[in-house]
């Protein structure tokens, strides 16, 4: 750090406060990009390019979010939205209009759910027999049955959910906005982390955690599905331990001598710190990701002892450990599109429920027993739902095609009303008809839970003021907010 007061610029002042003498952790943030934001690169109204914690617009309910993204389109009429009328009309032709994606297998035959529903908890929430574990959390859930994207395609709707505008790419994702608005609570872990699936990336790949037009500081850091979960975190065997320490010490000497020849050059100072930070992270991230530290009963609670649930359970457990350590936004994706049950739904849907039911429920219960659920928003849901009519024939090959007109998601904790079922689809579950909630409403509501006003939270880019919802119609769904 420059010791010559003549070169004390605003930037080095910021550096001193963030890393000041006596700061316990020099490793302050994972992405230390431009901690000393170069003013030339910041548009006038943007937050400075740092991850310093920032005050929300008003008192927040939530300070962290875990999104269990159920990519592919979970079949709401088989999981959370029972339709007796659909069962009654099973096998008859649907009289309304349907938009199909897979016309070659399209049919207008209504397809009653093959599964039974029961009411659960004091709230009496309807949950299908396919999700016995989530059913036990019924009184903590806030179930929204009236989601509507208006588009049946995966990409169109998933971009709507993450980026705020249907089909459009190049935009920052929800996690980017939260981190931009609030900064990071963690001093040694990335604020926005994504847990990818061994089965591969979701459709659209890295666009799902892109920071779009925002600085890369705000993009999601992807944890790999297997060890090593963070690339390059470990030193190669030859450099483990003292060797790397000596290397870094020598590098530091080179850099400080160079800095003396370039006094006041903040980029060079940031670079020096980025190495210090990286070294700290090697320890912190390793610790956070090590689920073997969890007691046996916790590991079993998440299903780590069962082949079917081990992978998803491990990721849910990591998500909890990350949130506990101050990570702002964690999103768990599935590989491919396991909820995209176009055919063979009678075997495919139970299989994906089996993989995810117990870990998802464990996450809610575990957060609750640790007192973290109050401030941690858990979100479970896909980008679309599925049609009430059959795709293919009403036999073992039966499936359901895409449906962005009406479907279900749920949230828990983080200030949403527990034990609530909100909104409704029509009598067969095709279209949301009551208290319709769009992804933009969902986003406005999530930001609100974090104490952020979606109209105020703006980022200057591309020559204009950009917002998550970008001026589209949206409302904070106040009915979903916990009032007590």
């Amino acid at each position: 750090m420059s010791t010559d007061p003549r070169y004390a610029t605003r930037r080095s002042f910021l550096a001193d406060t963030a890393f000041g003498v006596g700061a316990v952790a020099l490793a302050h943030l994972l992405h230390e990009e431009k901690l000393l934001a170069d003013p030339s690169k910041v548009m006038p109204d943007n937050h400075p390019l740092t991850l310093e914690p920032r005050a929300p617009h008003f008192a927040p309910r939530a300070n962290a979010m875990i999104s269990l993204f159920m990519h592919g389109g979970p079949s709401h009429v088989d999981l959370f939205d029972p339709k007796p009328e659909l069962t009654r009309k099973h096998g008859t032709d649907y009289e309304g209009e349907v938009g199909f994606s897979f016309v070659n297998r399209a049919s207008k035959k209504l397809f009653g759910s093959p599964w039974k529903f029961k009411k659960h908890g004091e709230s009496g929430a309807d949950v299908s027999e396919l999700l016995p574990e989530i059913a036990t959390c019924a009184d903590d859930l806030c179930i929204i049955r009236s989601m509507h994207t208006g588009h049946n395609g995966h990409e169109v709707s998933i971009r709507f959910f993450h980026g705020g505008i249907p089909a459009q790419t190049g935009r920052p994702t929800l996690g980017s906005w939260l981190v931009y608005g609030l900064g990071s609570e963690s001093r040694e872990l990335p604020a926005y982390m994504v847990l990818s699936d061994p089965g591969g990336p979701p459709v659209d790949g890295p666009l799902n955690w892109s920071s779009g037009f925002m600085a890369p500081l705000y993009q999601g850091t992807v944890l790999r599905p297997d060890e090593p979960r963070i690339l390059n975190l470990d030193a190669p065997p030859r450099l483990k331990g003292a060797a790397q320490g000596r290397n870094l010490a020598f590098l530091d000497r080179l850099n400080r001598a160079h800095l003396e020849r370039h006094p006041g050059e903040a980029d060079l100072e940031s670079r020096i710190r980025s190495f210090e930070l990286a070294a700290r992270m090697q320890t912190a991230a390793k610790e956070a990701l090590d689920v073997s530290q969890e007691p046996k009963h916790v590991r079993e609670m998440y299903g780590l002892d069962d082949d079917a649930t081990r992978d998803y359970g491990t990721r849910c457990l990591i998500a909890r450990r990350l949130v506990e350590r101050g990570v702002r936004f964690v999103q768990i994706f599935l590989g491919g599109q396991p909820w995209d049950t176009h055919g063979g739904i009678k075997t495919a849907l139970p299989a994906i429920c089996r993989r995810t039911d117990k870990p998802s429920a464990a996450l809610v219960k575990d957060l609750k027993q640790r007192g973290l659920l109050d401030t941690t928003l858990v979100h479970w849901g896909g980008e679309i739902g599925r049609l009430p009519v059959v795709e293919g024939a009403l036999d073992d090959g039966a499936g359901r095609d895409h449906n962005g007109q009406g479907f279900t998601i749920w949230m828990a904790g983080g200030g949403v009303k527990p034990g609530m079922t909100f909104g409704a689809t029509d009598e067969v579950g095709h279209r949301a008809v009551e208290d319709v909630v769009t992804p933009n409403d969902f986003q406005a509501t999530v930001l609100n839970l974090f104490g952020l006003d979606h109209e105020k939270l703006a980022y200057q880019a591309g020559g204009r003021s950009q917002r998550l919802i970008d001026g589209r119609a949206a409302r904070v769904v106040k009915e979903l907010l916990h009032t007590s």
Partner: protein, 848 residues
């Protein structure tokens, strides 16, 4: 108004808006109030709709009011309904409200008597008109070469310096002294070639006594084939270059996209005039007559149209093809807009641009230029846009080979049938005689014609079902023979000439789709038809450029060619400015307009508007020569100055926007990778050709196949597999295109340098070379190695202090390795640690 006077008026306006004394004056409708109404109200009141019969496009309309009566009473803010509704938060509806400070502007304006700058017309045609204020914006002024200010002094070598020095002097600053020669050659080499100079080149330059040593250096670098690879890469960012379609789930590779990349690199190396470069990229297909075969030059010209084929094309993903194809069109228009206009024209896709004078109709007029070639109603998927490069001779040869192969194939088929018949007879002979005929008949009968009895026979005697695939189980020798025969057929077919293709954007003959404005940008809601043309604001009032279609029997509509010629006629106000600004940005790290993709109202104003115009005009006058532009810029004092900060400069010019010093910059992703390869030794400078494929390694890092040491520009740009090292250092992952790269400093970068294979491996390579040149245990050998490492990485010898420090470090590492029984080649390993730190250090990563 004559153009000159308008320009002066604009300058006065620009000053006015930044001068506090004038800002206290009463606001005017045109300058202050209308922009607010435009952003918040005009969509429903006068633009797309006239709700409540209230039109707010003119003050007089507001006074006339709508169904609720007059909206405005001049002089009476409290009595003006318009203001009341806004203050109550009732208008605009929805959650987007007019900010308080803007409401205050409206209030002050009404209170001051609601003045207008000039009399308003009686009526207006529908839509949002382009106003005089709109037209006064700097970016739309006709290009006119300004005279450089007369600035005396040592530091002024060229007109560029004069413009910059005049501003600096206003602020009491001067240019910094020239950088030393070592800094200059490193700066210029990275800038023009993306590679460091060699040690020998540095020494030669430092020792060159000639007056014009520096000018010669620039000429040498401009003549290097490496130049096009560096500056072509800049252009590929704007074009959104990618070697894959971005479709789901395959992200299908584009095996021929590289021909566009090579075209770009060749164009830069040849200093192809930029007007021609633009015309070829937008309309190369219209310049080539394909009827009489294709010359290599014609293939190049066709490949140039790859510019319009670079965005992601998801139309093969299944799903909503009209949506996906319309997205391709919209993305392509965005690329065109950012490359040539420097405007955010995409905003006008759904409605009249809220901040810039781009009516929605203009957006669709632009779309009409491209729609015959990018036509969602007759969509052609990527593979349907390939043009075969087969010559007539190739085709004749292929036909002949096919014919010969068919003869061979027929013989093999007959032989196969014979072998099967023989095997069947032998097999039938194992059955009792009376059964043989019925069995033979049952198997010979077509499957759907068999009687129940025959079906049973077939089902119960699977061993009689002899196919070519199982023949070997009955007659091994026969099967072997057939295998050889089939191989001979395949060998014959392989004699066909390999069919090569070029990916082209062109029009299907005879297809002339109608372009309509889409309501709210939704392709399912087409409204009124439009004809092709340039943006209205890009021409003087009343002179909007319209594209005239070629006659109906012409092979193409000629729209893109006409449009491209219009862009490059040398008078277009946006094109030369956008290009000059972009090239300037690559030299100095920031443009004269800091937002290269937005010259509009929300963009950042130019720091040196006259310099920008001078550069733009000079670019056109030079015959659109980019190399002449480089020479002019790089021989200026501004470019040659040192990068050191001091407290005075930090105070007045903290981010070097005024260029009181040269900004220090980190190497970009490609330069960093290429520099490590060059310094370590293995850099392969083979130019051109198919992209080097990328693969994912065991831990998930994506790298060039076989760690190929080719220059980064030749590595495959697979959207779903961005190269880990490059993206970590801010190479763009192409969503659409990249107008300006981020320049981040992050812990993942540090981890990549500390622990990633790439740097480790090449540090070892450098160490191996250095140890081999100075072997042995003598202290002199170690000194020589340290010095050689310094020269390689830093292009200078170490100071005695550095030398001592490095020797100590290497000795210490060597001693530690001595204690490790498994360590191999300890001299090299110890030195590799030193080399890795040199690669990772700021002196290597940054350019002064």
């Amino acid at each position: 108004m004559p153009q000159v006077r308008r320009w002066v008026a604009a300058a006065v306006l620009a000053v006015g808006s930044s001068c506090p004394a004038l800002a206290e004056e009463a606001p005017s409708f045109e300058k202050d109030v209308r922009p607010i109404l435009r952003a918040y109200c005009l969509d429903c009141h006068g633009g797309e709709a006239t709700k409540g019969k209230l039109d707010l496009r003119l003050k007089r309309f507001a006074e006339a009011g709508g169904t609720s009566g007059p909206a405005l009473t001049a002089g009476d803010a409290d009595g003006s309904y318009l203001l009341a509704r806004i203050q109550d938060g009732e208008m605009p509806p929805g959650e987007k409200k007019v900010p308080a400070e803007q409401v205050a502007v409206i209030e002050r304006w009404i209170a001051a008597g609601a003045p207008t700058l000039r009399p308003e017309p009686e009526s207006l045609p529908p839509g949002l008109p382009i106003t005089e204020e709109d037209r006064a914006h700097w970016a739309y002024q006709p290009l006119k070469k300004p005279t450089p200010p007369a600035v005396e002094g040592d530091g002024v070598r060229s007109p560029i310096d004069a413009f910059l020095a005049a501003r600096l002097r206003e602020k009491g600053l001067e240019f910094s002294p020239d950088a030393d020669r070592r800094a200059l050659i490193r700066r210029a080499s990275f800038d023009l070639t993306g590679l460091p100079p060699t040690w020998e080149e540095v020494e030669a330059f430092v020792a060159d006594p000639r007056e014009d040593a520096y000018e010669r250096l620039i000429d040498r670098l401009l003549a290097s084939p490496r130049y096009g690879e560096r500056w072509g890469r800049h252009w590929l960012d704007v074009a959104g270059y990618a070697d894959s379609d971005g479709d789901n789930p395959n992200d299908t590779p584009r095996p021929y996209a590289y021909k566009y990349r090579d075209y770009v690199i060749r164009s830069f190396n040849d200093d192809r005039p930029l007007d021609r470069f633009i015309v070829e990229q937008l309309a190369g297909d219209e310049l080539v007559d394909r009827k009489d075969g294709l010359s290599p030059e014609e293939v190049e010209t066709l490949a140039a149209t790859g510019f319009l084929r670079m965005v992601a094309d998801g139309t093969t993903s299944g799903g909503d093809v009209p949506l996906a194809s319309n997205q391709v069109v919209a993305d392509t228009i965005k690329v065109v807009g950012s490359a040539f206009y420097g405007l955010t024209i995409a905003c006008a896709q759904c409605h009249d641009h809220r901040y810039d004078p781009i009516p929605q109709e203009d957006y669709y007029r632009l779309r009409a230029v491209f729609e015959p070639a990018l036509d969602p109603s007759h969509w052609r998927q990527p593979r349907g846009r390939l043009v075969s490069l087969y010559t007539d001779a190739d085709r004749a040869k292929a036909t002949a080979v096919d014919a010969e192969a068919a003869v061979l194939q027929k013989a093999v088929a007959e032989k196969t049938d014979r072998f099967i018949a023989e095997a069947l007879t032998a097999e039938l002979n194992k059955h009792p005689e009376p059964m043989r005929a019925p069995l033979r008949e049952a198997f010979a009968a077509p499957a759907d014609k068999r009687t129940d009895e025959q079906k049973a026979l077939v089902a119960n005697n699977p061993s009689l079902n002899i196919t070519p695939g199982v023949l070997y189980q009955y007659n091994d020798k026969a099967a072997e023979e057939l295998k050889k025969d089939n191989a001979a057929v395949a060998a014959k077919r392989a004699e066909k000439p390999v069919e090569d293709f070029v990916a082209v954007l062109d029009e299907a003959p005879g297809v002339r789709p109608e372009t309509r404005v889409f309501h709210r940008g939704d392709h399912r809601q087409p409204t009124k038809p439009v004809t092709p043309g340039d943006l209205t604001i890009a021409s003087p009032e009343g002179e909007r450029y319209e594209v005239a279609d070629a006659p109906a029997d012409a092979p193409t509509t000629g729209r893109r060619l006409a449009f491209a010629r219009r862009l490059t006629d040398g008078r277009h106000p946006l094109v030369a400015r956008a290009l000059a600004n972009r090239f300037w940005m690559h030299h100095f790290g920031r443009g004269i307009v800091e937002t290269p993709g937005d010259f509009g109202n929300l963009g950042v104003k130019p720091t040196h508007p006259e310099l920008l115009d001078w550069l733009a005009c000079t670019l056109v006058e030079s015959g659109w020569s980019l190399k002449a532009f480089h020479r002019a810029v790089m021989t200026s004092t501004a470019y040659r100055q040192a990068s050191l900060r001091d407290s005075r400069r930090d105070e007045v010019d903290p981010d070097a926007a005024l260029l009181s010093r040269f900004p220090v910059r980190r190497l970009d992703a490609e330069s960093l990778r290429d520099a490590v390869l060059a310094v370590a030794g293995p850099l392969d400078v083979t130019p051109f050709g198919p992209a080097v494929e990328v693969v994912e390694d065991g831990v998930g890092l994506i790298n060039a196949m076989g760690d190929a040491p080719r220059r980064s520009v030749y590595l495959q740009v697979r959207r779903s597999r961005p190269i880990s090292f490059l993206t970590t250092f801010d190479a763009p992952v192409m969503a659409v295109n990249c107008e300006r790269r981020a320049d981040a400093t992050s812990a993942p970068q540090a981890l990549m340098l500390m622990n990633g294979d790439f740097v480790l491996k090449h540090a070892e390579a450098l160490a191996a070379r250095v140890v081999a040149a100075s072997p042995g245990d003598a202290p002199e050998a170690l000194d020589a190695r340290v010095a050689a490492s310094w020269r390689a990485a830093y292009l200078r010898p170490p100071t005695p202090e550095e030398s001592g420090m490095a020797r100590e470090f290497v000795a210490d590492r060597r001693a530690a390795l001595e204690r490790d029984p498994d360590a191999k080649d300890r001299d090299r390993a110890a030195l590799a640690d030193l080399c890795q730190q040199l690669f990772n250090s700021n002196e290597f990563l940054y350019v002064d």
